[in-house]
Amino acid sequence: MSFLLAENMTGGYGATDILHDCTLRVEKGQIAVIVGPNGAGKSTAMKAVFGMLNLREGHVVLGGEDITRLSPQDRVAKGMGFVPQVNNVFPTMSVQENLEMGAFLRDDDFSDTMEQVFDLFPILKDKRHQNAGELSGGQRQQVAVGRALMTQPRLLMLDEPTAGVSPIVMDELFDRIIEVARTGISILMVEQNARQALEIADMGYVLVQGANKYTDTGAALLADPEVRRTFLGG
């Protein structure tokens, strides 16, 4: 059984459904990427996994435990980490304080985790006393990912982590994400840069209008001429 199993998700924010029988799976230590055209419900699908909208049908199972009814906060306690697309740092707090806030739920000593985050993102160690709001876009994303890692999540969810950063920074971020996955953390990520994202993905989900259109390994999707033509621009 997959580590994360979000099956048959149907629901939306109001009366109309945005997701239609959408299913996502992530294996332990693997990277799953959700791609698709604008308005396909990519972010909505991820928010549904995180419990930020009510599902009419379907269920979410994490590590064998059904968490469909839990609030986002409770899901954090169960081992989910979520990095929102925007407003994902505390701007007037220092980098180190941002990380501390990520570990707010932990009662144990989290200095080891913080060292791991600093090893992963060395630039953050240099800027640990600087306010997060003063950092560049790419550095802010690193703070955001680092904050989510502080809870020692078993599943890390990233909502368009490379939105608005330069291609070099994007490659750098993807490298870091692969490193995170190697430590055994499962990754679920929504990406606008579909081609690059699928290159690092173990599993890819192409969503169209809130439903699964294509599901395969990242390499297979990249090789599929139909997917290339319709979603990857040739």
Partner: protein, 336 residues
């Protein structure tokens, strides 16, 4: 000698009174700015929270005086202050439970919360009047002066007097301690940091598992402590009159906005800016200029820019200028 006299006059009539008034405003503005940062509305009941807290502190002061408790040269009100804070904190927590929490749950627009705070102001105003009446009350005891005018003149031989009242020294010392403690709390403790996180980015704070109810409750308790302390210091320095505390609302808001709503450091700077402007503009500079001007060129008029009745116009004018040119305040606040 004349330059010294001018200097002493400025110290005596401007710097010392404005410093203690500024410290009182800063404490009040800190409360307003904290509430704004966490609960995201301008609390119109803050002036009356100050009045309520001071009224209870006065009641405890009277009780302690009757019991014969005293701090010697220091005013008895300082022993009573923690008790006054406790009662006020209880009241604001009760108010939050009974009134504000509902509007947070339904995610009411900020202007509704402002209006609700006006209703709370009404109730608190009524409670204060009910408890202690509307008359002016002097509750300072202990030593009145640290430096008295007569001693100063005798010691220095200057024509100008310099007096330093103990209430002014207490205000400055107490305000410095309170501000130090507050910043230590906000920057060093887990709870304090969680408050800053909540103020910075509420959604992310919730995602991080920060308990909003706890943050709100702690904020109210701190605001009550700041309001009561500010109110008692103001009352010791001048006197207690419920209506005066309502009128302090304008300079307090002005201080908070000038510094940048939601920014604690800004609130302190704002308090002193407002206080020094208010005192400076309403002080009659005739005497000082008389010392400084060459013989024969002494000014004729009072050299007072505005009469003291218009002191609130000074905070208002500064407020308007800041709103026109820099609505986020001098130290970047949260609000536009």
């Amino acid at each position: 000698m004349d330059i010294l006299n001018a200097l002493v006059a400025v110290l005596n009539y401007v710097v010392i009174p404005a410093s203690s008034y500024g410290a009182q405003l800063a404490l009040g503005a800190l409360g307003v700015t904290l509430i704004y940062g966490i609960l995201r509305f301008s609390n119109f009941a803050h002036g009356d929270t100050m009045a309520f807290g001071t009224a209870f502190t006065i009641l405890f002061t009277w009780a302690f005086q009757a019991m014969g408790l005293s701090l010697g040269p220091l005013p008895t009100a300082l022993i009573a202050l923690p008790f006054g804070i406790a009662v006020t904190a209880g009241l604001v927590l009760l108010t939050d439970r009974m009134v504000y929490s509902y509007y947070r749950r339904v995610r009411a627009a900020p202007v509704i919360l402002v209006m609700v705070s006006v209703g709370v102001m009404f109730v608190m105003n009524g409670l204060t009047r009910f408890i202690i009446g509307v008359d002016e009350i002097q509750f300072a005891d202990g030593a009145r002066f640290v430096i008295s005018a007569r001693e100063f003149r005798a010691a220095t031989g200057l024509a100008e007097p310099l007096s330093l009242r103990s209430s002014q020294v207490i205000t400055l010392v107490a305000a410095a301690l309170v501000v130090w403690a507050l910043f230590w709390f906000l920057n060093r403790t887990r709870t304090g940091k969680s408050m800053r996180a909540f103020s910075d980015n509420e959604d992310l704070a919730l995602l991080s598992g920060i308990n909003p109810n706890r943050v709100v409750a702690v904020t109210w308790v701190i605001a009550a402590a700041l309001a009561t302390t500010a109110g008692v210091l103001y009352g010791l320095d001048k006197s207690f009159k419920a209506f005066n505390y309502f009128q302090l609302l304008l300079p307090i808001f002005a201080s908070a906005i000038v510094g940048g709503l939601g920014n604690p450091l800004g609130a302190i700077a704002g308090g002193f800016i407002i206080a020094f402007s208010e005192v400076g503009v309403t002080y009659a500079w005739k005497k000082v200029l008389g010392y400084l001007a060459p013989a024969g060129l002494e000014p004729e008029g009072l050299m007072q820019l505005l009469s003291t009745e218009y002191k609130f116009a000074v905070s208002f004018a500064i407020l308007i200028i800041v709103l026109l040119f820099k609505p986020t305040g001098l130290f970047k606040g949260k609000a536009v």
